[in-house]
Structures are given as structure tokens and as C-alpha cells.
């Protein structure tokens, strides 16, 4: 295991929703460029773990640090900025804005960070081409297949050069073959971009694309450090 400062590190994460304990003391480390699959059945707490790692939810106790910097003390606005600048997201479906063509969907996060529209659009075009979507820049999400839409989402997540990409069931709405293609692209392009990757999935085949996998059950990591 990498002994340098982990890119993303969580210690003793506890998160409760009312009387339900979603996370009961979870430790996770993620090295730069490493991919980690978080597995577990429905309701096991894996999505809550992703939300805590990404700064969407604040844990009731425990810490999360990005490159050694604790993110728990940041305000809501600061965490939002952190997600915009340093994280990328790929959800199961629905994160693409339906009224924007593919190229503008990809360019939007860069524009939100202040890149001029022309430059952001050029960059987005290059990302789409590198993911095999040349010629589809003008298509809207409704005119793309599920696999194509997820590739657009991958480009959208990577355009800002994030430190970590979080993917929540990225193949959940796809057939097996398309899901295989999307995972290949997601893991390869993320690694090539130097970003770390956290994939939440209940599918062992999807998890098999990652460097490591952990299994969350009843809010605890049950089978840590399962090598690929």
C-alpha cells in the first residue's frame, strides 16, 4: 500500500439519520490515481459514505481530508466550491442538463470555474473526441444512448482536472456490455488524467475494474483491502 499522504482520507466516519446508523465508524484511504470500489447491498451505507467523502454530507463524527486538508470545517459554500474545483461526479443518470447539447454539458463545469466560453467549448470538444464522441457534440442528452450519455458525463466530470472522481452506480442504468465499456473508459481516462476514483456499486463485475474494493455492511467496512 502507498505510504505517502493519501489523496483522500477518512477516519472514524459516523453518520446517523434519526435512529438509523448509516456509517458506524469507517476508515478509508485513497492514493493519487488509485481507483476504489465501494460495494455493499442496498441500504448498507455505501452512498452515504460517498456523500461524506465528497463533502455533500457532513459526518456526525470523524474526519475527511483531501491532500491532508480537513474538509469538515468548511462552510456549505466552501464545500460546494471544493466539489466544483477538485471533484468530478458521475451519477447513475440524470446529471446532464436536458436542454444543453453534449458539448455545452461538458463545457459548463469549466465555465463555472471562469474559463471563457470559447476555450471551455474547445476543451469540451477535445474531451468528447477522446472518448469516441466526435460528431455528437450537438446532440442533446435525449438524443444519446445510455452509454453515450455516460461517456459525456465522464467528460463532464474530468474537464476541470479534478483530484477525485466520484461515481455513484455509473452503470446502474446500462446493459452489461455497455456498462463494461463505460467502466473501461471511466477507469482508464481517470487514471490517465491523474485523478483518483471512487465507484459505488453493488455489481462485482463493475468493482472488478477498480484497483481496490471495500465492502460496506451495516455501516462498517467488512472486507477491506480486497485486491483486484
Amino acid at each position: 500500500m502507498n505510504t505517502a499522504t493519501p489523496r483522500l482520507s477518512a477516519r472514524g466516519l459516523v453518520k446517523r439519520f434519526g435512529s438509523t446508523t448509516a456509517l458506524a465508524g469507517v476508515d478509508v484511504d485513497l492514493a493519487g490515481g488509485e481507483s476504489l470500489a465501494v460495494m455493499g447491498p442496498s441500504g448498507s451505507g455505501k452512498s452515504t459514505l460517498l456523500h461524506c467523502l465528497a463533502g455533500i454530507l457532513l459526518p456526525d463524527s470523524g474526519t475527511v481530508a483531501l491532500d491532508g486538508r480537513e474538509v469538515g470545517g468548511l462552510s456549505d459554500r466552501e464545500r460546494s466550491l471544493l466539489r466544483r474545483k477538485h471533484y468530478g461526479f458521475v451519477f447513475q443518470f440524470g446529471q446532464l442538463l436536458s436542454e444543453l447539447p453534449a458539448i455545452e454539458n461538458v463545457a459548463l463545469p469549466a465555465m463555472l470555474l471562469g474559463t471563457p466560453r470559447r476555450d471551455a467549448t474547445e476543451l469540451a470538444g477535445r474531451w468528447l473526441a477522446s472518448l469516441g464522441l466526435a460528431g455528437m457534440e450537438g446532440r442533446r442528452p435525449g438524443e444519446l444512448s445510455g452509454g453515450q450519455a455516460q461517456r459525456v458525463a465522464v467528460a463532464r466530470a474530468l474537464i476541470t482536472g479534478p483530484a477525485v472522481v466520484f461515481a455513484d452506480e455509473p452503470t446502474g442504468a446500462l446493459d452489461q456490455s455497455t456498462g463494461h465499456d463505460v467502466m473501461q473508459i471511466l477507469t482508464e481516462t481517470t487514471k490517465a488524467a491523474g485523478a483518483s476514483l471512487v465507484v459505488v456499486t453493488h455489481d462485482a463485475q463493475v468493482a472488478g475494474w477498480c484497483d481496490r474494493r471495500i465492502e460496506v455492511r451495516d455501516g462498517l467496512v467488512r472486507h477491506p483491502e480486497t485486491a483486484r
Binding site: S80, Y87, G94, E99, M111, G142
Partner: protein, 452 residues
């Protein structure tokens, strides 16, 4: 009862908070539509009844003029009223379509899906109509305070009768059901089709031709009104209705052009998104601001009133009363038009937030600032709003030019009145759209993004 139709109440309850908000908004819209329609019809009936009373010897017969003017008010308000009712029937259409498409996938037939929608919207229409009747009854004594023909109305004069109420209670749910069924065409074609948004079909320039013909018809008829004799009033009224309706045809097309121009210049994410949203569905944008566009048309038409009123009526007391009443009637019509526009805009904005709930929440999770959504929401309304209000007022001035001549346009009070009306109307509509802000905040606060 059919198994699928029997599901209607359960599906409604299962929709949770969003479904309750959508239902409340739809019912509010139907109630406002019913209440104001009954009030306007009551006014028309009041003037008609007065016109049927024999005129004493030596007095001029202005009563028939009042009936024509009341009909003009009805024509001016009918489109905003229909727009609001249509908006109510389309509320939350994205969520409802997704839910019904799932039912189609599970094996429900197109007929059952239509039945379910018709049941849902008809029920909302019925509750709305009932509340609208109550609103009408509450407004009755207030409307009766308005002075016309030298005296106020009695409540009895403005009463539409039990048959009028019955027609509302049957007609509103029926129209709601029809509108709901029409809005469902896409679901019944394909259960998969509804979740997919594709590049919108372009609206053709034929809409402009329709508008030019409509407005031209009014201008020709109005310039020849003198030769039409007794038929002049009816011809003018019909031509005005045609001209007015054409605004509804050309409005979305013009908004599409505005969207294209905005898109070319968009340099920030908010401008880009607002332009794309406008371009994506100009008809939906028109539904939000169209009410004010139509009110702007009314304001433009009414801005010539000061000139008419300025005509020396000191020798003609009856003429003076008529002119005063003309101004009162115009103001009432305009206030109702602005209220309808504000309610339409507020409801459409809230529905838009609910329809986009999932994508707004996911964008927020990915770090998109809340200010962007606010900025896009405002821009989506404000830019078309200003454009439509001013454009409609100018159209009205052009349309009425042959009827009243250049002198009517030269009075300084007219333009001042117009600017005042438009500024007040825009502020009212903008305030109404801001009521969706707390709803947007609650969507952004939701970190658990549920599937639709």
C-alpha cells in the same frame, strides 16, 4: 372500477410533497380562472340587463355601447384566462409523464393512462371550480362597488345565476380533463418516449404570416368601420379577437428568436443556460410571460384613452359619464389581466422547479452554486418578460392607429400611462415568480436525490 383507474388516488398520495404542491398549484390556477371568469361574465350580464331596460324619453341610449365595451373586456381577458387554465393542466407534466410512462411499461394501455390523467386533472378542475365559485361570491360585493353609468351595480345585477355556477362546475373540470388528455399525447405514443428530451422542432415563419394577417385584418376592418354601419361593432370585436389571438401564435416564435440572439452572446453559464432554456421550449416561456404580453397589449390599446377622454364633454353630461366609465372599465380589465399574468407566471415557475427537481439537485451535489439556479430562473423570466411586454404594447399601438388616428398617439398622458402600466405589471409578475424561490431552496437542500 378499472384496476388502473382505481390506482389514481393511491398514486396521487404516493407522489409525496411535490405532488401535493403541484396539485395545490393546479387547483389554485383553476380557482382563479373560474372566479375571475365568473366575475367578468357577471359584469357582462349586468351591462346586458341594463341595456334591456327601456330608456326614458329624452335620454340618449348609451347602454348598448356599454355592452359592446363589456364584450371587448371579455375578448381581452379570454386568452389570459385560457392560458392560465392550460398552464394548470400542464403542471408537473414531466413528473406525471414519467410516472405514467412507468405504468405503460408495466402494461397499462394507452386508454387507461389517458383515463388516469383525465381522472386526476378533472378532479383538480372540480375542486378548483368549487373554490373559484367561492372566490366569485367573495368578489361579488367588491365588484358591485364599481361605479358605472352613474351608479354602482347591485349584487343581483352581477349574479350569473345558479345555471352559471352549474356551467362552471361542469365546464371547468371537463376543459381541465380535455387539456390534460391532449398534453399526454407523447406518453401514449411511446412509453419510452417521454423521458427523452430531443432537439425541439423549429417553429416556422408561417406564424409571422398568421400574425401579419391577423393584425392586418383588424387594421383594415377598423379603418373601414365607418362604412360598416350597425355591423361595425361586431366586426371590430371579431377582428380584435383575431388580432389578439395571433399574438399567442407569434409570441413563442419571437421568443425563440430572442433565445437565439441570447445564445450567440452568452458568455456566462447563467446566460448560456437561460438562453438554452428559452430556446428549448419557447412555448413554455410564453406560457410564463404570455399573460403579461397580452396584458401589455391591453395596456397599449388603453393608452389612447386619455386622448378620447380629453374630448370636451362639458356640454354632454352623459358623454362625460361614458368616458369616466371607459377609464374605470379599462383599469379593471387591466388589473385583472395583470393578476392573471402574475398567477400564470408564478405557477409556471414553481412547476418548472418541480419538473427539474432531479437535475437541479444533482447539479447542486456536483458543486454548482445555488446562485446559478437563481440567476437562470430570473433571466429565463425577465428577458422574455420585458421583450414581450414592450413588444405587445407596440403591436397594440400599431393595430389601433387606423381606428383612432395619429392624434390619439400624441397625448403625453397616453405613453406615461403605458409605461406606468407596464412597469407595474412587470413588477407584479416578477414578484410572483420570486415565490418559487423557497421551493428551489428546498430542492437544493435535498441531498437524497430520488428517482422519479
Amino acid at each position: 372500477m378499472n384496476t388502473v383507474l382505481a390506482l389514481a388516488p393511491r398514486l396521487q398520495r404516493a407522489g409525496g410533497r411535490d405532488a401535493r404542491i403541484t396539485t395545490s398549484l393546479a387547483i389554485t390556477a383553476f380557482a382563479v380562472t373560474t372566479g375571475l371568469t365568473l366575475s367578468v361574465v357577471g359584469g357582462l350580464l349586468g351591462f346586458t340587463a341594463r341595456a334591456e331596460v327601456p330608456v326614458p324619453e329624452g335620454q340618449g341610449d348609451d347602454a348598448s355601447v356599454y355592452v359592446i365595451l363589456a364584450w371587448i373586456a371579455v375578448v381581452l381577458l379570454v386568452v389570459p384566462l385560457i392560458t392560465l387554465a392550460g398552464a394548470a393542466a400542464r403542471l408537473g407534466v414531466a413528473r406525471r409523464d414519467a410516472r405514467l410512462a412507468t405504468l405503460r411499461l408495466l402494461g397499462a394501455t394507452p386508454r387507461e393512462v389517458v383515463g388516469l390523467t383525465v381522472t386526476e386533472t378533472a378532479w383538480q378542475g372540480l375542486v378548483g371550480a368549487f373554490l373559484g365559485v367561492l372566490l366569485y361570491v367573495v368578489l361579488l360585493p367588491l365588484c358591485a362597488l364599481l361605479p358605472f353609468q352613474g351608479t354602482t351595480f347591485t349584487v343581483g345585477e352581477l349574479w350569473v345565476g345558479w345555471e352559471g355556477l352549474a356551467i362552471a362546475l361542469v365546464g371547468v373540470p371537463a376543459l381541465a380533463a380535455l387539456s390534460g388528455a391532449v398534453s399526454l399525447r407523447r406518453v401514449t405514443v411511446s412509453p419510452l418516449g417521454v423521458a427523452r428530451r430531443e432537439t425541439p422542432k423549429k417553429m416556422t415563419w408561417l406564424r409571422v404570416v398568421v400574425a401579419v394577417v391577423g393584425i392586418g385584418t383588424f387594421m383594415v376592418v377598423s379603418s373601414a368601420a365607418g362604412q360598416l354601419g350597425a355591423a361595425a361593432g361586431a366586426a371590430l370585436l371579431g377582428a380584435m379577437a383575431v388580432g389578439f389571438m395571433t399574438l399567442n401564435a407569434v409570441g413563442p416564435w419571437v421568443l425563440g428568436l430572442v433565445g437565439k440572439a441570447q445564445l450567440r452572446r452568452a458568455s456566462t453559464p447563467a446566460r448560456l443556460l437561460a438562453a438554452r432554456r428559452l430556446l428549448d421550449d419557447p412555448k413554455a416561456a410564453w406560457r410564463v410571460v404570455g399573460g403579461l404580453g397580452l396584458a401589455g397589449f391591453v395596456a397599449g390599446a388603453l393608452s389612447i384613452l386619455p386622448t378620447i377622454v380629453a374630448v370636451d364633454t362639458s356640454q354632454d353630461p352623459q358623454g362625460a359619464i361614458l368616458m369616466d366609465d371607459l377609464v374605470t372599465g379599462a383599469m379593471v380589465t387591466l388589473v385583472v389581466a395583470f393578476l392573471l399574468a402574475a398567477v400564470s407566471a408564478g405557477i409556471a415557475q414553481a412547476a418548472s422547479v418541480l419538473d427539474r427537481r432531479r437535475e437541479i439537485a444533482l447539479q447542486s451535489l456536483a458543486g454548482t452554486p445555488a446562485e446559478l439556479h437563481d440567476s437562470v430562473r430570473r433571466r429565463t423570466v425577465l428577458v422574455p418578460l420585458l421583450f414581450v411586454a414592450v413588444g405587445s404594447a407596440v403591436t397594440a399601438l400599431v393595430m389601433f392607429y387606423p381606428l383612432l388616428g395619429v392624434q390619439s398617439m400624441l397625448s403625453p398622458q397616453g405613453p406615461l400611462m403605458l409605461v406606468g402600466f407596464l412597469a407595474g405589471g412587470c413588477a407584479l409578475v416578477f414578484a410572483a415568480t420570486e415565490t418559487s424561490r423557497p421551493l428551489l431552496r428546498s430542492v437544493l437542500a435535498d441531498t437524497v436525490v430520488r428517482a422519479d
